[in-house]
Symmetry: C2
Subunit: 380 residues, 2 copies
Amino acid sequence: MHNFEFCNPTQVIFGRGTVPRIGTIVAQSGCRKILLVAGGGSIRENGVYQAVMRSVSAFGVTVVEAWGVRPNPELELAVKLSQLAHEEGVDGILAVGGGSVIDTAKCIAAGVYSDDLWGFFEKKRVVEHALPVFVVLTISSSGSEMDSWAVLTCGEQRKKWSFSSPALYPRAAIIDPSVQTSLPWRQTVNGAVGVLSHVMATYLTGSFEETTLSLDEALMRTVIRMVDRLQADHADYGARANLAWAATLAMNGLSAAGIEESDWSARSIEEAVSALHPDVAHGAGMAVILPVWMEYLREDNPGQFQRWATQVWGTGAIEAGITAMKTAFQRWGAPTTLGDIGIGAAELRDIAFKALEEGPIGKLRTLTARDVVELLKTAL
Amino acid sequence: MHNFEFCNPTQVIFGRGTVPRIGTIVAQSGCRKILLVAGGGSIRENGVYQAVMRSVSAFGVTVVEAWGVRPNPELELAVKLSQLAHEEGVDGILAVGGGSVIDTAKCIAAGVYSDDLWGFFEKKRVVEHALPVFVVLTISSSGSEMDSWAVLTCGEQRKKWSFSSPALYPRAAIIDPSVQTSLPWRQTVNGAVGVLSHVMATYLTGSFEETTLSLDEALMRTVIRMVDRLQADHADYGARANLAWAATLAMNGLSAAGIEESDWSARSIEEAVSALHPDVAHGAGMAVILPVWMEYLREDNPGQFQRWATQVWGTGAIEAGITAMKTAFQRWGAPTTLGDIGIGAAELRDIAFKALEEGPIGKLRTLTARDVVELLKTAL
């Protein structure tokens, strides 16, 4: 077990009917005027927006609204909204949405104090101040509601980069799983695949971090079972709630405690895909890439891959474990070939170039551009 | 899954060689003069005391030393030390030890602002201010290093009570598992039994909180495996480290997330035992009480008891699971009968009276005094 630090100050308020508590939380934090960040109109349709507005208004908090965050959110919007937040003199940012909205909110929270937001991503500067970020979560996937990371794409250069700061942990996150009942099935599946990939990025590099590895296995098994339950009954609140909590725990630091380093290369490849194809959701891309990525790297930490096959899929062989995962993705209706997400052989070199553009990727093994092309070929 | 809140702001610094970081942590928190709270001399013998003193002195922090905290710590000492802390004008409390030391430190942190410390335990008042508490952990068991609880015995009335406040979360906890290598085996075992009992108090009342229950099972299995490994090799750092981290996670709120209510009746009975027999360590008492307590209550949530037998002990029957647990305790050298801890039939009524003195106990079932006597009889 490697040395580690763990500190996660986010206050989680979890459960059915908790959305109306946002007003109290924002007001108790001393905020009087907030920027509400949101995506499209789905939060109007499921009533979350109305509940939030009623709640914050009841405490006399003024709301400036910023709509239009899209999947794979862009730096340009975050810069524009940082200026708006500055001009309006807001004292808090409220994200109502999923990972894209929350990440944009975090960027605004830091960007309001800086005229070089991209500099944080380029590691030219670190976040010294940030406005408090509050979250009302509407889709469980990224774990951003309880982590210190933000991922954005710089539109000009199509670079999908991330940065992190202790100042970016949301002050509070309201997770009401019942609001996710109205999600399209596809989004539930994409979210769950994303969660599995988060855990696996760390788990598969592990070896003797028994406590953390056992927790990770518990999270993976739970995610798989809960998606199966939800497929049988979209309205199963228990399954929705357990999936939501597992998703949050998958990225809040616990799933990696004591593991030396994660291998985010599958994610880097997927981010190259979605930088070139912004219409491809992260989870959809990961459903295609994870199985072939594992197949390609299975000999680089074979004991751990074997453990994964046994503990998560109940099978003695790595091959059978990977097949079981792919079968689950297919059963859930996720794409499992590059063709399914509209990518052909001609693009593989561009994806590999993009994935490696900023330097080497991979911890299990350092992947070359040829490696990336070779492993993607098996997903065509 | 029931609604819940989770917020745990303690900064954990975990791993070999981390004790010398205490100076930086205390100084960065702005503390200039601290009260160091400790037990007997074991921290001199294993070098932890010296490392702590060197580290805080290097930052010019003044240290007032308070030694002599014993297992089942007493209110009287905490009151005395609160006065000392007040007179000396310290601005932080540093606990160097295990649960008893940390709990005493928390009481001092709150007691310095109050002349009625017992009032917190009696729920006559709530903690409004507390000095920051820092921890250098020397035995993993109570989980107090990352929770908001303090348990003390009021000597006069032999009442072992607890209180909690968000202000009591340690600011930071240094957990260096390697300092626990020199612990007597008995203390390692008592610690581990305590950890299992913490998880089970919540787990056994559960039903459909899949994420939390799976995490709990992972923690219980890890604890059992790590103790077995340590019994084979006391110097196995990996086993020590994973046991330590599991112990911390068992009480930091995660193991109970979404479970409506825990059943602390086994603990109440043990606390009655150790209030009457202050020489009986909490873990030793729990090793005796847990098996008979489970046997007595097995029909009150049979599905969950069954799940526990299967997932933790790999057996299909509740009976076999309880036997497996008892066998593990015996294998580790823990006491498993009341006789082993010096308690005879004549005391059972006193223990029952003490356990129920302040009101009913039990969530799986509300236990009467007769219930307590009956279940204890089977442990004679």
